[in-house]
């Protein structure tokens, strides 16, 4: 009766340890903690005084000890593992092997390493094998009771070793996954960088063709980015609109250089030739798989007007992609604020007057208002960087004179937008 009670207690102690082990392996994110706790649980279940757990590092083909109990502070050794070792260990499939003189001779792994590694400090070697792959080994010393391991003990060890092996395997899979994700991230970042460099190179090529508008595409990209940021777009969308700005004039590559570089206002025929460039740009950009949406469409429609008098498709209002509306405004703003062969740049007062006149005709108020706010914020010193002012040159804007102009324009446009939306409602 007393023996039965003792057996029952032993079983309860073992079950509790198995439950704790399962919980530990499934629920702990800290690998080191999981391994240390697992070895404690295994040793504590059968009161084994010495134990060590090594993880198999596939890349370095070595067993590395992570946790050791009862042998001083640490086991510094690593055990190199070759193909023979792997075969020998995986064939045991998580079944323990007694480290006795005969077994040492019968097991290839023990035989290979007995000279370098003192296995006699331990009684049992348990390879941790998951789906035919070695994940680690456990070495166990004697039981505190002095009894040899019984069949039930070995079954308990086998069950716990399987759990621990799965824990190690999960850790390895997670590490592999993280490494691959990091590799993919690096590759993706590299590709994005190449893509951006290529886009910039194209922008420079476009601008080089037009000797009077050098840096135009780059500036349109930056103005577009500033407007989109002011409109609350996401970083990804902002990157996309900047690319659209850089590439909006790519269709000019198929327009004759003489037409682009004419030092006078061109005639209707040449003008129509020049006006082919948005559609040509669309053709050039469409076959490319851009990492951002609608780049070809924004290039095609950057000369559309909200009143429907633009080209090439004569789209109106909401038919025009919002990105194209932004690029259109950025493009026009840069054209107005840089010197051209046939005319000097316009004053900011003129630009404001142009915005007032053309909002609702050429430009969409939904992009003009944010752009005005972006300029205003820079002039009022609300932004850390003064990107617009830098592009326009030091003396172009005069905050004292221009802030009231902008504020009036914003107030007017907002009030018109409000009336329009009330009218629509």
């Amino acid at each position: 009766m007393a023996m039965q009670g003792s057996l029952q207690k032993k079983l309860l102690h073992t079950f509790a340890a198995l439950a704790d082990l399962g919980q530990e392996i499934a629920g702990t994110n800290d690998f080191e903690e999981m391994v240390r706790t697992s070895l404690h649980l295994l040793l504590g279940t059968l009161a084994i005084r010495k134990g060590a757990l090594a993880e198999y590092d596939e890349a370095e083909q070595a067993l590395k000890f992570i946790v050791v109990r009862g042998l001083g502070l640490q086991l510094q050794e690593e055990i190199p593992v070759d193909e023979d070792d792997l075969k020998s260990l995986t064939s045991l499939d998580s079944q323990g092997i007694a480290i006795s003189a005969e077994d040492t001779h019968s097991n290839q792994f023990l035989k290979n390493h007995q000279a370098q590694f003192d296995f006699t400090r331990f009684e049992l070697l348990i390879p941790l094998v998951v789906r035919g792959r070695l994940t680690g080994i456990i070495l166990l010393g004697k039981k505190a009771s002095g009894d040899s391991f019984s069949g039930e003990d070995l079954e308990t060890i086998h069950a716990m070793a399987r759990h621990i092996g799965v824990g190690l395997n999960t850790h390895r899979l997670m590490a592999e996954l993280e490494r691959k994700a990091e590799e993919n991230r690096r590759l993706y970042d590299g590709l994005r960088a190449i893509y951006k460099d290529t886009v910039r190179a194209f922008a420079s090529a476009i601008d080089l063709k037009d000797k009077y508008t050098q840096g135009h595409s780059e500036r349109v990209g930056r103005y577009s980015e500033i407007i989109a940021r002011e409109m609350g777009w996401s970083d990804e969308e902002i990157e996309g609109i900047a690319i659209a700005g850089y590439l909006h004039d790519i269709g000019k590559l198929v327009v004759e250089r003489d037409i682009i570089n004419a030092p006078y206002k061109i005639d209707a025929k040449k003008s129509s030739e020049l006006n082919r460039h948005p559609a040509a740009g669309y053709e050039i950009l469409s076959p490319i798989r851009h990492p951002y949406a609608d780049i070809p469409l924004m290039a095609r429609h950057h000369h559309e007007r909200v009143d429907g008098r633009g080209y090439p498709d004569g789209l109106k209002g909401d038919e025009i992609h919002i990105g194209a509306k932004i690029v259109n405004l950025a493009d026009s703003f840069d054209a107005m604020t840089t010197d051209r062969p046939y005319k000097r740049r316009r004053s900011f007062e003129d630009v404001v007057a142009d915005f007032r006149r053309n909002t609702g005709k050429q430009f969409a108020s939904e992009v003009v208002i944010p752009f005005c706010y972006a300029i205003l914020k820079e002039m009022e010193g609300q932004t850390k960087e003064r990107r617009i002012m830098k592009m326009l040159g030091r003396d172009y804007l005069n905050p004292e004179r221009d802030i009231p102009l902008l504020k009036d324009l914003i107030a007017e446009l907002e009030s018109e937008a409000l009336s329009a939306s009330a009218g629509n409602a």
Binding site: D20, L41, G44
Partner: protein, 129 residues
């Protein structure tokens, strides 16, 4: 009689030359390693009489057993005397079942443990800090 707090959670005190470490509730988790560390610190400080008091420990699980075996090892390695006191009946049964009572003396109370160790405590008195 000196009483001190070592680290955040492990309570210990020195009575005469003997160190008393309170196992508390932390024994059954990985944080129980702090108890083993505290015992090792006491041994490194020269104490050769050590009591681990289980008065606040209801149950000892496998992690606790493993940590206690670590304490037994540490005491054995420097020839220190170790007594576990105030253990519940269940824990005593578990220790007997696992064969741990071969390596450590058990006492019903801390006072009894200290009395058992008084000879060793006197020998190690003053050798610590």
């Amino acid at each position: 009689m000196a009483e001190m707090l070592t680290g955040v959670t492990v309570r210990s005190r020195v009575v005469g030359g003997a160190a008393v470490v309170y196992a508390s509730d932390y024994l059954n988790k990985l944080s129980g390693e702090r108890i083993e560390r505290e015992c090792r610190l006491q041994l490194e400080a020269g104490r050769r009489a050590l009591v681990v008091n289980f008065r606040d420990t209801e149950l000892v699980n496998s992690i606790g057993v493993s940590i206690l075996m670590g304490i037994i090892d540490a005491a054995e390695s420097v020839g220190a005397q170790l007594v576990f006191s105030d253990m519940s009946a269940q824990t005593v049964e578990l220790f007997e079942m696992l064969g741990l009572t071969r390596f450590v003396a058990l006492a019903k109370t801390e006072a009894e443990a200290l009395a058992t160790l008084s000879g060793f405590a006197a020998a190690s008195q003053g050798s610590g800090h």
